[in-house]
């Protein structure tokens, strides 16, 4: 089957957020179709499509849905729209430009899994996405698509718009639930808090990413067979990637999952158009700030989950950040580590203390006060957060935030050690007044 866009197909229409435009282009047809199917049949279709979660971990959504313990009610749906991984820019577009598609996806998930209330959690800083979703929900309630007796059936569910207040950690699913309960957004220990079993208010809860849910109307409307006709063995359908940084045409592109390569999307004329100003590529981040960096030799890898995992990094949240030959890798590394240091929730000591010290050491180096021992100190502190600096990172913490901060350090020191040493050598030659360093 030739590739066709699924979740961004309405992006050319600047009025696609309105219900009339959505309905005119096949909107809510999947919901009508689902009302003629059993919940199990809808669930089976999603399972057969082998839709991978689009939030970062890439776990199959249909299988996650099956983890709710039988006979335990109520069950909740929490939509993760707290997009904040550096480099990631897709969920906000889906919420702003085609909110009804996300709403229809929520309804299909609720119907299939027996979820009786849905909370759509949108990142606090996204005021425009919040108002677009609020307006779309108001329209959908008035039209009978959401709320009591949907389309005249006995399917009833409220979708509640919820909004956060600025905290990256809340994108972690158990922290998201804590935040939705009105608490500080600190992750919970798994087990016992696997949300599908023990989630919101201690009840079974499905947490799905915005892009994951946006795929559902197409899957139900067209069928799993058409969906799996696109993509590679383990990565079906399409996926949205944001390509940013030093490229000619930064943008958000929906591509066939698993077959498109990094070279296609970074250099292709229809995509990011290559490194800008004719410069050479120095490195790129394949899947958000938490990912291990890739280089020239990785360009021909396909954007496919298993392949990228095997190559030692991850597709994560679909964020590709390109760095050209002039990039100061110590500063880039510091920038990413500072992000994790600022966003650490403070619950686990290795992360709270470790990320803070890593940031300070790097800042000191950049300020011209680096010490010869700093390189080994960076590695030692990193080892205390994630022993062995392995991929996937080993965890000494409840959630992966701390170990993620180690990725840019492991990447940059391994490949660009000379740049760190240059900073240190430079600072050694300076006269530093006693007591200031």
């Amino acid at each position: 089957m030739p590739f066709e866009k699924i979740v961004t197909k309405r992006f050319d229409d600047l009025e696609a957020h309105k219900i009339a435009n959505y309905e005119a282009t096949g909107g809510y047809a999947a919901l009508r179709k689902a009302m003629t199917m059993t919940p199990q049949a809808v669930h089976d279709e999603v399972k057969a499509a082998s839709l991978l979660g689009r939030g970062g971990a890439g776990f199959p959504a249909g299988i996650k849905w099956g983890f709710c313990p039988p006979g335990v009610w109520p069950r909740y749906l929490v939509v993760n729209g707290d997009e904040s991984e550096p480099g990631t820019y897709k969920d906000r577009q889906l919420l702003e430009r085609d909110p009804h598609q996300v709403i229809e996806g929520c309804l299909l998930a609720c119907y299939a899994v027996g979820l009786t209330q849905c909370f759509l959690y949108i990142r606090g800083e996204m005021a425009h996405a919040q108002e677009r979703v609020a307006a779309a929900l108001n329209e959908a309630y008035a039209a009978g698509y959401v709320g009591k007796n949907i389309l005249g059936t006995d399917f009833s569910v409220d979708i509640v718009l919820h909004w956060g207040a600025g905290a990256y950690i809340v994108g972690e699913e158990t922290a998201l639930i804590e935040s939705l309960e009105g608490n500080r957004g600190m992750p919970r220990l798994k087990p016992p808090f696997f949300p599908a079993a023990v989630g919101l208010y201690g009840k079974p809860t499905i947490v799905n990413n915005v892009e994951t849910l946006a795929n559902l109307p197409w899957i139900i409307d067209r069928g799993a067979e058409d969906y799996t006709a696109m993509g590679a063995d383990n990565s079906k359908g399409t996926r949205v990637f944001a390509v940013s940084g030093h490229v000619n045409n930064p943008g958000v592109f929906e591509v066939e999952f698993g077959t498109t390569t990094f070279r296609d999307i970074i250099e292709g004329a229809d995509y990011a158009g290559g490194v800008r100003d004719g410069k050479a590529l120095k490195a790129f981040i394949p899947g958000g700030a938490s990912a291990i960096w890739f280089y020239e030799e990785h360009l021909d890898l396909p954007l496919e989950k298993v392949t990228v995992d095997k190559a030692g990094s991850m597709l994560g949240s679909g964020a590709i950040v390109v760095m050209d030959e002039d990039t100061d890798m110590v500063k880039a590394c510091h920038n990413l580590v500072r992000f994790f240091a600022r966003e650490s929730c403070g619950k686990c000591t290795p992360c709270r203390e470790g990320t803070t010290w890593l940031e300070r050491i790097l800042a000191r180096m950049i300020a011209g006060h680096g010490r010869p021992s700093d390189l080994s100190l960076l590695v030692e502190v990193s080892e205390n957060i994630s022993p062995g600096l392995a991929w996937p990172p080993r965890q000494t913490t409840i959630c992966p935030l701390g170990p993620s901060a180690v990725s840019p350090i492991a990447s940059s020191i391994e490949r660009f050690r000379d740049e760190f040493e240059a900073y240190i050598t430079l600072s050694d030659r300076r006269v530093i007044p006693v007591g200031t360093a």
Binding site: W73, T88, R123, A127, A142, H162, R184, S244, V321, N335
Partner: protein, 202 residues
């Protein structure tokens, strides 16, 4: 300073009514308090505690975790310049430096006419770098000239953004006759559309 006004209180009750457990409304209500006064006052936090059957300390505990809640006056216009990795690569540090100089304030302090500037973590507009938000409204691909024009626009009133505190201009409203109702934690019954024989979904 102020507890919630009558108008805010009406909105607050509607928000509280959408959650099976009241405390879930806390973050939206803190936003409501900030919308009313420009920042979250101690009195408002006490009022929220009464509304949600919490202690003021519990309200403060949640409030103090989140970056967006300010507990002292911060001016009407907050300019948040993104310094995430994509914006960093495309000159965010220079833009922040320029902003501090042209406004004559350091990050985190406020001009006499109520404008402040701050470097913030990734705001999800990476392909539009460098970018910023004024009271959480986006401005893409910002040059230093663009920044100066923005500040001039705020000062002469030609840039219209809601004052700090107000987020979405449209609110969700669930009509009473359309509401499915909250899924109460203790309800323990299968949903009406759930077939009897589908108890153990695979």
């Amino acid at each position: 300073m102020a507890r919630l006004s009558e108008k805010s209180l009406r909105i607050a009750h509607e928000i509280i009514g959408r959650y099976p457990v009241k405390k879930s409304a806390l973050i939206p209500l803190l936003h409501l308090a900030q919308e009313q006064d420009g920042y979250v006052t101690d009195d408002a936090m006490e009022h929220l505690a009464e509304l949600l059957d919490l202690t003021p300390a519990e309200v403060l505990g949640t409030c103090s975790f989140y970056e967006m809640f300010k507990r002292e006056p911060v001016g009407d216009y907050r300019i948040n310049i993104c310094h995430g990795i994509a914006c960093h690569l495309l000159g965010a540090d220079d833009l922040i430096h320029h902003a501090e100089h042209s406004l004559g304030v350091r990050q985190g302090t406020v001009t006499a006419d109520g404008i402040s500037v701050e470097g913030v973590e990734c705001i999800a507009a990476c392909t539009e770098a460098p970018c910023l938000q004024v009271n959480y409204r986006y401005m893409n691909k910002v040059s230093t000239e663009g920044f100066d024009a923005l500040v001039a626009g705020i000062r002469d009133g030609s840039v219209s953004v809601p004052k700090h505190g107000r987020l979405a201009l449209t609110r969700q409203h669930i009509p009473e006759d359309r509401a499915a109702g909250n899924a109460m934690v203790e309800s323990d019954v299968a949903p009406p559309w759930w077939p009897d024989d589908a108890e153990g979904d695979s």
